[in-house]
Amino acid sequence: MNRIRQPRDVEPRFFGLAPTQASFEGAVATAMFREMLRIRRVEERIGERYAEQEMRCPTHLCIGQEAPSAAVCAHLRPQDLVFSNHRSHGHYLAKGANLNAMIAELYGRATGCAAGKGGSQHLIDLDAGFMGSAPILASTISVGVGAAWAAKLDGRDEVSAIFFGDGATEEGTFHEAMNYASVACLPVVFVCENNLYSVHSELDIRQPPRPVAALAPAHGMRAAVVDGNDVEAVWKAAGTAVAHAILGEGPTLIECVTYRWREHCGPNEDLNLGYRSIDEFSQWQQDDPLERSRSAFLAAGWLNENVISTMEQEISEELDSAFDFAIQSPFPDPRELATHVFPDPS
């Protein structure tokens, strides 16, 4: 560690966290597969239509990184909360937030989940417990800790799951937030999606050779680093982490090692840039989390081709209608420019 170059370099390690003993079975697995598939198709569709220049905002696709979203959110209950970063679509969708409102937000429409004011980098759906996303690195981590604090103060059974990348772990506020979550013993699951890059800069020049997860025990927290393309491995680690949170046993950090397929921001591939090798890229692409679970779940008899094609069909229709919804939605009224600067008295 780190020098992770290939998927098989990931060496799972557990710091005071035992992966759940619950068995990983049909219904659970299928639901996660479907969620990953859905995220993949949503992102692909955004990618296809981005060139039309109607989604006019910086957009960070998570193709290749679907497993952590699906696996972590599989453990979250409706009342649990998710906080997210710039690469938020997967987190948003897996938490069950509204697809139509998301696509409309990307299209800058009044019907968007943030009324068009936020764009892809500021998704929100309070009804689904998706509490917000923001692109300033690590900025939502402490906010998620604060939400967990409020829950604890009020005796509400709510877990905050906070998603962020490996780059965000270089921000001091991440440490401050871990320290406080630990001292106050808060119901938080920190989820680091380590895709080995921060924009075009590789991990090795930014961090010393140790798993990101090793930061957690220093703050008195449990942690694990797992293969982030293995939805079962993430699910098992996250299950225990969420359980600890629910039981009042404090926070956990789960590091999921994964890989981004598209460019950092925007819809295209970026092998032409040369910051990562074709060889590296294709090894990770062959380690496709979607394909891995597809074949494993088919082999286990949890899925069959019919089920999958029904899923594809449903998702495709859902997407057609989401994009239609977005495109048919009005732009915000000019008067909206000046609303919401300050809240009206409640």
Partner: protein, 354 residues
């Protein structure tokens, strides 16, 4: 009207106590908040009264703890966060300015962040470059924040109560030298609006618009000016964002002359904003160039010999007022303790009420 007198720090304490008492969701947090000195007395005893769940000590992690407060605010809490010096809060500008100020807007009104951040502005006794900055202009520059700087105990109480009730993030700035000033403070819960200046002294020749501690100096300047027959109107801005242009406009409309006095630096500061906004809107009324009284463009020096030269006060305000009147009277020195060698502690001759 009650005649009850409270000191400024007591007024803050009382407002906090009432806010905690009135609403379970109000929280008070900050390093040293429950400690034996209780943020210069403003938080003393409140942990005993409201418990360690609601009145909490925190690590010195200004950035994340502000995010924590924001997160709690989005979930129904109403945290009051306290910084012993504004200078420390510089570490928390990301969550204040990028996040708290914008969450309501950028999420299309879906979220509210009712957060009060108290910051104390230090001064004197060699506080020096890193313990005395008065950066209200930074906050006033940012949409989505309300920024108040009460100078009187009654406003400190009423505005803090309003701030806690407001659903927007409020930056609440307290100058350390106001803490022992006394003034009448009504009993019980009341609220003073977070916008709106207050005319503390009426006058017809020149408008002195000031905020926070500079209001004290402006009042003293008005006294001095009166002694040479000049009638100065003193406006306590109270809120620096938004500015109360109606009150300012009305006053300058009558006097035609303006001196804007701020505790911070002039450049892109509150004094500049007052001058610019008044000039833009009331140009026809102006009879002379408006003037600014603010810190020179120099970091705050520590030695009392330099700090004494650094901070402008009543004399400088009065001199600028004379300048707007085209007069060059020699003003009497304001009364001052003869045993006082340095001006690095508050003038004992001024303890309020006013």
């Amino acid at each position: 009207m009650t005649e009850r007198q409270l000191k400024y720090f007591e007024a803050i304490h009382e407002a906090t106590d009432l806010a905690l008492g009135a609403d379970e969701n109000v929280l008070l947090m900050g390093l040293g908040v429950p400690g034996p000195t209780g943020i210069f007395g403003t938080t003393s005893g409140l942990q005993d009264k409201y418990g360690a769940r609601r009145v909490i000590d925190i690590p010195s992690s200004e950035n994340a703890m502000t995010g924590v407060a924001l997160g709690a605010a989005t979930r129904g809490k109403r945290p009051i966060m306290v910084h012993m010096r504004l200078d420390f809060a510089v570490l928390s500008l990301e969550p204040i300015v990028n996040q708290a100020a914008k969450w309501h807007y950028m999420y299309g009104g879906r979220v509210r962040a009712p957060l009060v951040i108290r910051m104390i502005i230090g001064r004197g006794w060699g506080q020096g470059p890193q313990h005395s900055q008065s950066l209200q202009a930074w906050f006033a520059h940012v949409p989505g924040l309300k920024v108040v700087m009460p100078s009187r105990p009654c406003d400190a109480k009423g505005m803090l109560l309003s701030a806690v009730q407001d659903d927007a993030p409020v930056i609440f700035l307290e100058h350390r030298w106001l803490y022992n000033l006394e003034g009448p403070v009504p009993d019980g819960v009341y609220s003073t609006p977070l916008e709106g200046a207050s005319v503390l002294r009426e006058g017809s020749d020149v408008t002195l618009a000031a905020c926070s501690y500079m209001v004290i100096e402006a009042m003293r300047a008005a006294e001095t000016l009166a002694s040479v027959g000049i009638s100065a109107e003193v406006i306590d801005l109270r809120s620096v964002a938004p500015l109360d242009m109606a009150t300012l406009g009305k006053s300058v409309g009558r006097t035609g002359r303006l001196v804007a006095a701020d505790t911070g630096h002039a450049e892109c500061g509150v004094a500049s904003e007052v001058v610019a906004a008044v000039t833009e809107q009331c140009f026809a009324s102006l009879k002379a160039a408006p003037q600014r009284v603010a810190l020179p463009p120099i970091p705050s020096p520590t030695s009392p010999a330099l700090a004494d030269l650094y901070y402008p006060g009543a004399n400088e305000i009065a001199a600028k007022a004379l300048q707007t009147l085209g007069r060059n009277d020699v003003l009497p020195e304001p009364p001052s303790d003869p045993g006082r060698r340095w001006r690095d502690t508050p003038d004992p001759s001024f303890t309020g009420p006013y």
